[in-house]
Symmetry: C2
């Protein structure tokens, strides 16, 4: 199967064609590598009602903004260094908790908030441009270096964030650090606990910087972070590397109780795992003889192969193709 | 007189205090200088209804976004190198003209669009993070290097952009490259021509990169770009340099017919020149014996002096203090 290009892919491809006219190819990885520079750069934004529900606490929004950018740096095996922030916020909204959260979250990962721009707007939107430096004794990790026969790995569970998003769409709330589910999702205590963790996973993602640094110290690795769904991001890695892939759906790591909670939300666990987005775990390919240490908590889910397209074994392929940031709350 | 801090100054000061805890001082100039890096970085955003009237052509918005960022690079004497763009746009709006304009405008100044992020939102907002490199055989220009006895210069006319903003607020439109004034501002042909140019100046500013590079090759210069009004930005330069300043209001360069057009808009030319914002000309201080070449089109408007505060001679001080980006259309 071949997935259609998302609007963001279309933009990126269009930009790449334009930029190529000037004799450079900076785009296509999770971050741009600047020629003759020690930095890679990534930029991501968070818009109220699109990336998070309006009314989310400002500090949570700030931490989420940092996490999605850190995940891009993790995907290229870098270390975060400097962040530049923009905030456009409605007049009544206090932005200081957001700024403080961004500054603290960057500092917690050894990076500094180095500048920004503040403006008024009707709805909250915020962006971060994040610089990463190369891991000491490491190289930049790219998405276009996968080979046929490489083993395909994943850095953590998938689908949980998308489940959280479904629960938020169905009325869940996040206040004072607590998840409040809609009444109909609280009936079964064990499933409700799974659901609450899923909402938290969606709103408070964690970037896999340690795993990225481990990959950067390998002789060869290809990686991407799963922001738009496993299938869609795998398709990107495969296209960039000029290979196809086979994924064993039965091996996809999901959290305990995930199938029941998915069913409660009227959906299918394998579909969510393959196409649910914003997991922010790394998807990576390694030569067959390389086995990551147990402590990294990674799972082998398939192989790369000559040719093109993604083959799913062990389950029906899902109906949907991926997470679209252009859908709204 | 001492001007109050704008919300953006307050944010910047707050950030500086936070960042200083980690042993760095990256903020306070128009761009951040990264330690051990060859780049300086600036970020600015443009939000519909705040920085430009909703309905402005997307290409014009893109060029304006680039110009205000280029002006920050001009103020530090740098050369633009790489831009990273975010666009959050309503579903119906075609963003390609905006992207194309940003890419072309960067290319026209020797810079490259190197990455970006696209999202959906209720209103159009867009930001650019721009990297500048140091001018060959030049140094970074800072705002904190002014000395008492320095002469104070300005790179072009002031107040015209603010006049344009008043005309837009009063119903002027910009369509297909033409300015359409409200009916009551078209009566007198010569003043109408001044008014149309003012609207164009507001919407389509030009950064003074050549002047910035000339300053970068001087042994000592202090500079800032006038984004929030001459008085407010001069106050910033003076605070950073630990000096006061005397400005001769009679020397302020304004366009021909400016006084009449200001009067038509119910305001005062000197007020507009001193406090109208978004001029995007450079305000700079040079040792007394240094005279910029005629070709740069700059004007001497006063001197720096020991002490603090801004003294205006040759006119009454204005009522307002500066341009506030937090005011809305």
């Amino acid at each position: 199967m071949s997935t259609p290009l998302t609007p963001e892919d279309q933009l990126t491809n269009w930009l790449r064609r334009r930029v190529a006219r000037h004799g450079v190819d900076l785009l296509g990885d999770d971050a741009a590598f600047l020629p003759r520079a020690e930095f890679a750069v990534t930029v991501d934004q968070q818009v109220a009602g699109v990336h998070f529900p309006a009314g989310l606490p400002a500090a949570t929004i700030g931490r989420r903004l940092v996490a999605v950018n850190l995940s891009d740096i993790a995907a290229i095996g870098g270390r975060p260094a400097y962040g530049f922030l923009t905030v456009a916020a409605p007049p009544g909204l206090s932005t200081k908790p957001l700024l403080a959260a961004v500054e603290e979250e960057l500092a917690r990962h050894g990076a500094r908030l180095a500048g920004g721009d503040l403006a008024r707007s009707k709805e909250l939107s915020t962006s971060l441009t994040l610089f990463g430096t190369r891991t000491p004794h490491g190289r930049w990790v790219r998405r276009d270096t996968g080979h046929p026969e490489d083993r395909l790995w994943i850095g953590g569970t998938v689908g949980e964030s998308a489940l959280g998003r479904l629960l938020l769409d169905a009325g869940a709330n996040f206040e004072s650090g607590r998840v409040l589910l809609a009444a109909e999702h609280q009936a079964e205590a064990r499933t409700a606990a799974v659901a609450r963790r899923a909402v938290r996973r969606h709103l408070c993602p964690h970037a896999q910087l340690e795993l990225g640094e481990w990959l950067a110290r390998r002789r060869r690795a290809a990686a991407i972070d799963i922001s738009d769904g496993l299938l869609l991001d795998l398709e990107r890695l495969c296209r960039a590397s000029g290979v196809g892939a086979t994924v064993n759906a039965n091996r996809l790591p999901v959290v305990r109780g995930f199938a029941t909670a998915s069913k409660m939300m009227g959906t299918n666990a394998v579909d969510l795992a393959l196409t649910g987005g914003e997991d922010y775990v790394l998807l990576f390919a390694l030569p067959p003889r390389i086995h990551p240490p147990e402590g990294l908590g990674v799972t082998e889910i398939g192989t790369l192969r000559a040719g093109e397209g993604i083959e799913i074994v062990g389950s029906e392929p899902p109906d949907r193709h991926g997470w679209d940031h252009f859908s709204s709350y």
